[in-house]
């Protein structure tokens, strides 16, 4: 299985060195290199980790760099590890014909992050879904409400400490 990771580049310094002309890397470095925390190129996909409090500005930066189409945001629960939650934003460029992943790490205690709906209105339903199923709050979202489950549902089913069969 070594072949899968043969071409991977791990770590921010390595990515900046090997992919200095990648439009997203360049744009993030020019924008705020302190908030651009980590990077990884694995299995043909570029993952750029940014500081949680800067995610909206980072989204606007990659949007200006040509990554114009917001495709998806979802979360991963790494319970019981810390930081507990990871948010993965997938953004496609119609110009570069390429996809990047913005990654944000969040603590488990009342996780909250800025909503990116001012940058991409299409994030609306996806953020509601993440709120519904993971309990991550998005500040500045137009109407953060459960989307899949009833409004009076208890708990957030996709968290790892929620049993697969539910509470009975």
């Amino acid at each position: 299985m070594a072949a899968a990771q043969k071409n991977s580049i791990i770590g921010r310094a390595a990515v900046v060195e090997r992919l200095p002309n990648h439009p997203a890397v360049k744009a993030l470095l020019a924008w705020n290199s302190d908030a651009f925390v980590d990077a990884k190129f694995d299995r043909g996909e570029l993952t750029l980790t940014v500081a949680a409090e800067q995610v909206r500005a980072a989204a606007a930066t990659v949007q200006a760099a040509g990554y114009n189409f917001f495709e998806d945001v979802t979360a991963v629960d790494w319970f019981p590890a810390t930081p507990r939650f990871q948010l993965s934003y997938h953004i496609v460029s119609h110009v570069h014909k390429e996809r990047i992943r913005l990654r944000v790490l969040l603590d488990g205690e009342s996780p909250a992050v800025d909503s990116i709906t001012p940058v991409w209105p299409s994030a609306n339903y996806y953020e509601r879904e993440v709120f519904d199923l993971f309990g991550i709050r998005f500040e500045g979202h137009p109407n953060l409400r459960r989307i899949m489950l009833p409004d009076d549902w208890q708990g957030h089913p996709l968290r790892k400490d929620y049993p697969v069969e539910g509470y009975r």
């Binding site: 990771q5 299995r43 991963v76 993965s88 014909k97 339903y125 709050r137 409004d151 929620y162």
Partner: protein
């Protein structure tokens, strides 16, 4: 664990303007034009739509959570049930994602077969869309015609996989089994007559003045709005954005096929109808190319620890029997990492985001389903239009509630 949540739709303050005249109307979840269980809460002023809120989740079954409790190969049948009108597209997207996690090479014949089946699925899905969409508008006859051809495709699916709708035929590492001997002849026979059938539908609808006036200029979506609201697939291309993952970010050997991507700049329901009709003709071309150029060779990757052995080998070779036993009882470990695999499903950009922690069960599976995002654009398309146009617009974006709610 309770958290404060946003405002329920029925408690939202009414829109600006003539408040007294506004009425809140509930459409669905059992309305026949919603193709499942979509509930729309409409705020109307007379017959004009002022606001529209889709309420979804009636079909939510927690598939993403269920996936985390299954072995990788056990997830394949679940993917059929997400979008029950294009099962092969879901099978393909999931398999491609796991294969990329594993770093598995897929033999060429399997890739070509996958393209052939994806395009047949696209025809299948578009036929259901065309029939039900026309029926919503009031052209009942077309439904009987399209379901006649759809039956042929379902019979081909039954022939190859043993199942009409929940095929589970595309598996991790290739295909489930060799296609039966008469498969290619049957597909060829279907493809030979199908373009005439598209002409038939077109004759019934394109010149039909009622159908025209119900769709022309209705549900306009500008290219900027389409991108901002996450619209993909035929509705995106009908709004003038020339982007198709099959051509622009090819997967599974699509780069070896010649096809055109239909684009229209009108952005209305009529443009979506036209784009899908041309897409069906292009799919026919691609199936023909796949039939003509179908390479010889195996249909499964050479990875005995991941791909189930042939029945014959299992009965004669000890090693195959052990591998079979191990895969079925313990699954196979997938190296840690994350991938996002996008494909162009009949409805738009579908994506599977998979996270592996190195065990035999996926740590996280997330599906990006095209119509979930397209539904957000519904309000923009319907605002200021008449109540009856909602039916036309909902039909034109081709929603499947199974994939929206998951």
């Amino acid at each position: 664990m309770t958290e404060t949540v946003g405002t329920p739709i029925l408690e939202l303050p009414p829109a600006e303007g003539a408040r007294d005249q506004h009425m809140v109307l509930n459409m669905g979840p059992q309305h026949p034009s919603t193709h499942g269980v979509l509930r729309l809460v409409l705020e109307i002023d007379g017959e004009i739509i002022v606001r529209l809120y889709p309420e979804i989740g009636y079909l939510h079954t927690g598939i993403e959570k269920t996936c985390e409790a299954k072995f990788y190969q056990q997830v394949v049948p679940l993917t059929d049930r997400i979008d029950y009108l294009s099962p092969m597209a879901n099978n393909l997207c999931y398999s491609l994602a796991v294969e990329r996690l594993l770093g598995l090479e897929i033999p060429e014949k399997a890739q070509w077969m996958r393209v052939l089946l994806s395009e047949l699925t696209r025809l299948n899905s578009h036929l259901v869309w065309l029939g039900t969409h026309a029926m919503d508008i009031g052209a009942l006859t077309v439904f009987l015609y399209t379901f006649r051809e759809r039956e042929d495709i379902l019979r081909i699916f039954e022939d190859i996989s043993g199942q009409r709708m929940m095929t589970s035929y595309i598996r991790i590492g290739g295909l489930a089994m060799e296609p039966p001997l008469d498969f290619f002849d049957r597909v060829q026979a279907f493809i030979r007559t199908f373009p005439e059938k598209i002409d038939e539908y077109s004759n019934l609808l394109t010149g039909n003045p009622i159908f025209r006036s119900r769709l022309k200029g209705v549900g306009y979506l500008s290219p900027e709005d389409a991108i901002a609201l996450g619209v993909t697939g035929p509705p995106l291309r009908a709004s003038g954005v020339d982007f198709d993952l099959r051509r622009d970010m090819p997967y599974s050997g699509y780069e070896k096929f010649q096809f055109n991507v239909p684009v229209s700049t009108d952005g209305d329901c009529w443009a979506r109808y036209e784009v899908r009709l041309i897409e069906m003709r292009e799919s026919v071309k691609m199936i023909q190319q796949a039939l003509d150029g179908m390479p010889e060779g195996p249909i499964k990757a050479d990875a005995p620890k991941i791909v189930l052995p042939d029945r014959e080998k299992m009965k004669t070779q000890m090693e195959s029997l052990i591998h079979h036993f191990k895969i079925v009882t313990e699954g196979f470990a997938v190296p840690a990492g994350e991938v996002y695999q996008g494909i162009e499903s009949p409805r738009g950009q579908m994506g599977y985001y998979m996270v592996s922690d190195g065990t035999a069960k996926p740590y996280r599976v997330h599906m990006r389903n095209p119509t979930f995002a397209t539904l957000q654009a519904l309000e923009t398309m319907c605002k200021g239009r008449m109540l009856a146009d909602v039916v036309a617009v909902v039909g034109s974006i081709d929603i499947v509630l199974g994939e929206i709610d998951r």
